[in-house]
């Protein structure tokens, strides 16, 4: 397949215009690490945006970074870390889960709306994107948003780029909020809870004033035989000490222990990056977002019927589920049991992704609106056609 790699915005405009004139559908890509998420596409060329990798501006005291959409997340993480900052939404490195060589680009991070365990407190990529520039599927350069943290000038097109999977625009530049890293952290680990009890405990913790910034649960099968519920506290040491005692009193569990800063960090990276289900074992992996109290109920309803492995994040609101590929990766059963929210097929081979809807099917009025939104950026469907919705003539 041809690969187009623009170095400047003007080149990118030219390439998209050419593709439009010749009706060549383009596979819009950063470094291709998330290629496996979405429906398979028939594209004639790759539009490789990894050339837009420059860090245009990083002003720690203004809490802002502007970079090329092709800048590597791993590099930017280091850059922020040097100044004691980070992306507060904890973008995961899904390379182990997806079998990719690294964690991808900032453009991909936005396009997939990545976020980690701190989502429940600090939001997702959508909550931290401040501005974008790029080229629409009409072959026109545009920008939206700005570089300041507070801005309501015009529609929030930067948010619309979040979880658009490259179907609306080829982004060249993104501006994100950067925030100070917590000075230290600690994790309270409760042992031996059932899923239901763990969700109840996490809900109690989240309802307290302990400012829990991560609440996840590994059932015994994924935790060496003893289920573990993780509650993370971040901040300055005297504050953590106080909140830890308060939390421990609140949750008078049978057994518990503490992870100090380094162990805690490592544990949350593993949860963030979905290591418990990342083994390349041929299983398909689903990501389910539900109301926190629904997570364990959903699992309980599915468990008798599917040979599955799972764990919870976001106090029960995020369920990671690994299932055998048979029966369309149990898509129908999973979606039928879903009380609300959505189920996304994050890992599955290409043929399966062609057979079952990767993204949650939408009600007709919403699906039609989404199609019109797509057409407003990309009227002929030149960018990643069919990746999110089946294209209709």
């Amino acid at each position: 397949m041809t690969s187009l790699k623009p170095a400047t915005e003007a080149e990118l405009v030219d390439m998209v215009q050419d593709a439009l004139a010749q009706r060549t559908p383009l596979d819009v890509t950063g470094t291709g690490t998330k290629k496996g998420i979405g429906r398979p596409m028939q594209t004639a060329a790759t539009l490789d945006l990894s050339g837009f990798s420059e860090i245009a501006l990083y002003e720690p005291e203004e809490l802002v970074i502007t970079a090329g959409a092709g800048a590597r997340l791993d590099d930017v993480r280091k850059l922020l870390d040097d100044k004691g900052q980070e992306f507060a939404f904890e973008p995961p490195d899904l390379s182990r889960l997806l079998g990719a060589p690294h964690s991808g680009t900032l453009g991909g991070m936005l396009a997939c709306n990545l976020c980690g365990p701190r989502r429940l407190k600090a939001g997702a990529a959508r909550d931290h994107i401040l501005g974008v520039a790029g080229v629409s599927g009409r072959g026109e350069a545009f920008k939206a948003g700005g570089r300041v943290v507070k801005n309501v000038t015009g529609y929030d097109l930067p948010k619309l780029m979040a979880s658009s999977y490259g179907t609306l625009a080829a982004l060249t530049t993104v501006t994100f909020k950067a925030l100070p890293k917590a000075e230290s952290e600690e994790t309270l680990v409760l042992e031996g809870l059932s899923d239901e009890d763990a969700v109840a405990a996490m809900s109690l913790a989240m309802q307290s004033s302990c400012e829990v910034s991560g609440a996840a649960h590994l059932p015994s099968a994924l935790a060496d035989g003893t289920a573990k519920t993780f509650l993370r506290l971040e901040g300055v040491p005297p504050s953590i000490a106080y909140r830890r005692d308060k939390l421990a009193k609140l949750l008078t569990a049978s057994g518990s222990h503490l992870l100090a800063t380094d162990a805690s960090r490592a544990q949350w990276v593993a949860l963030r990056d979905v290591h418990p289900l990342a083994a390349p074992d041929g299983r398909c992996v689903w990501r389910l977002s539900v109301a926190p109290m629904e997570g364990a109920k959903l699992v309980a309803a599915l468990k008798p019927h599917i040979d599955m492995r799972w764990f919870y994040d976001w106090a029960g609101g995020l369920v990671w589920l690994a299932v055998p590929p048979e029966n369309g990766a149990s898509a129908d059963a999973i979606r039928a049991a879903l009380p609300s929210g959505h189920a996304t097929l994050i890992r599955a081979d290409e043929s399966l992704r062609g057979q079952v809807p990767v993204f949650q099917p939408q009600a007709p009025a919403l699906a039609a609106l989404a199609r019109r939104v797509k057409a407003s950026f990309d009227p002929v469907g030149i960018f990643n056609p069919g990746r999110m919705q089946q294209e209709s003539a």
Partner: protein, 496 residues
């Protein structure tokens, strides 16, 4: 004054027929056409602009909203949604040829769900009422616009409103989990819910801050948080704006994100002090209120660091609140800054630009120069942590020349904000007030792309027209594509 589009004469002539038709969907007192009764709706928080609507409709159910919008869509009648009418940018200003759709009767909280930490509410409920409904359990709804006793959560969604605590806790957009909305066609759409993130296109994100141009919000799910255990504020005076600005940057560089960080300049300090006697230092050129919240151990630790940073930046006075009462007194002056300025001037315009913080001294200097040029006073309150300025321009609306000068002064301030890398509006919205300044920030291509998105929601341009966009294009015109090489692919051709 910003000009509104000329009213459509046929709509004006059909007023009675339209009111009668609306009564079929919304019975009884829900349709208002008597001028005395419509008077209450003729303006919003931008009071220099007034316009009587064609007719007012106050539906109570989503089905009624849907029927009203469907009718208006079929009959090509414009619609202006309205919450409490506190918008400072004219977003809720009626149109002479448009139906004003008020959401005041959507005033019930539908579901309080502590276990999932969220509240489902109708859009006409006030911002503060949500907190009041959950505070006995220690919860609150974080975004706290100063207008929170009056403004509605639907209006907050439409404006993506903020407050003094949004540096740490986010704007409306970061605290809304889901909405139900009605498109101009009458179609009802649900986005998000009690779960996090609506998958696929983030239409919830786009609806937030869309100023009533994309759809009518009929239900909102917000997340609620447990109140911090305590909060304390530090009141710090500085000999110059530069010093205060530097202190703000140093606090943030030290990794501290305070619950609130507000700045006032000398004229604002004096106006506020005369009004509420909060004990503000009158010799200071700039005042910072820095609030830290959380558990006592954390606050004590951080206050010590903040005070050290302030001293290193030449602060000439510093008081730490010793009680909850004292903390509230510190805030009283800041919270009363608008009415305080209202006392020293018959009228004021409140601007809302955001700038990169380190450009503050030069922007304040620029404002001083403009103040001399236009012969009008200006007082500044400032969400210092996130760079959101609220210059208050003092004028007398009875003098048409002063209003004219005040508007020009305001426009020049916003141009200055854009020039230093900032934006026209941080939280009050574009509305009509900043509509004609949009080209200062966006190119024609940028604005056309935004309007194309509008077309995806409202192809006939019937929802709140005349707001936000300086030039209204027809959707067909915006959809046309010109591609180099001569070929013109059309939207109606089959997809690949």
């Amino acid at each position: 004054m910003v000009a509104m589009p000329l009213p459509d004469k046929t709509a004006l002539a059909r007023r009675r027929e339209i009111a009668a038709a609306l009564r079929q969907f919304v019975p009884g007192e829900g349709v208002i056409e008597a001028p005395v009764e419509m008077r209450a709706y003729e303006t919003d928080g931008l009071t220099a602009y007034r316009q009587m609507p064609l007719v007012v409709v106050l539906p109570e159910t989503t089905a009624q909203v849907s029927a009203v919008l469907k009718y208006c869509h079929e009959q090509n009648i414009k619609v202006v949604p309205r919450g409490a009418g506190t918008s400072l940018s004219g977003g809720a200003l009626p149109l002479a040829d448009g139906v004003l759709l008020g959401l005041g009767k959507f005033n019930r909280i539908l579901d309080i769900d502590y276990a999932n930490r969220c509240v489902v509410t109708q859009p006409g409920v006030t911002n503060l009422a949500i907190t009041q409904a959950v505070q006995h359990k220690g919860f609150y709804y974080a975004p706290d616009p100063s207008s929170q006793i009056a403004c509605t959560i639907g209006g907050n969604v439409a404006e993506n409103s903020g407050g003094v605590h949004c540096l740490k806790y986010g704007l409306t957009a970061n605290n809304v989990l889901g909405i139900e909305m009605v498109l101009i066609t009458g179609e009802v759409i649900r986005l998000g819910g009690k779960h996090l993130d609506s998958e696929a296109y983030d239409l919830l994100g786009v609806m937030t801050g869309s100023e009533g141009l994309l759809g009518v919000v009929t239900e909102v799910t917000v997340r609620i948080l447990q109140k911090p255990e305590t909060a304390r504020a530090v009141l710090i005076g500085f000999p110059s704006n530069e010093d205060a600005g530097k202190c703000v940057a140093d606090v943030i560089s030290a990794g501290i994100i305070p619950g609130g960080m507000e700045m006032m300049d000398r004229p604002a300090i004096h106006a506020a002090e005369e009004f509420v006697h909060a004990g503000y230092p009158l010799e200071a050129e700039a005042l910072l209120i820095i609030e830290l919240d959380g558990c006592a151990a954390e606050i004590d630790h951080l206050i010590e660091r903040v005070v050290t940073i302030a001293e290193a930046n030449r602060s000439n006075s510093c008081r730490v609140s010793q009680s909850e009462d004292e903390r509230l007194v510190f805030w009283a002056g800041r919270k009363a800054a608008f009415p305080a300025v209202g006392r020293i001037s018959p009228d004021y315009l409140c601007m809302d630009g955001t700038i990169p913080r380190r450009r503050l001294p030069e922007v304040l200097q620029g404002m001083e120069d403009l103040s001399r040029h236009y012969g009008l006073r200006v007082a500044n309150v400032f969400h210092a942590g996130d760079g959101n300025l609220h210059p208050l321009i003092l004028f007398d609306a009875n003098d048409p020349d002063e209003l004219e000068r005040a508007e020009k002064f305001g426009a020049d301030i916003l141009r200055l904000c854009v020039k230093v890398g900032g934006v026209l509006t941080g939280e009050h919205g574009v509305g009509i007030e900043k509509r004609d300044l949009m080209p200062e920030m966006f190119s024609e291509a940028d604005l056309n792309q935004q309007q194309r998105l509008k077309c995806a929601f409202d192809a006939k341009g019937l929802l709140n027209p005349g707001k936000v966009f300086p030039v209204l294009h027809r959707c067909a015109e915006l959809g046309r594509m010109v591609v180099r090489g001569g070929k013109l692919p059309h939207a109606d051709l089959p997809r690949f």
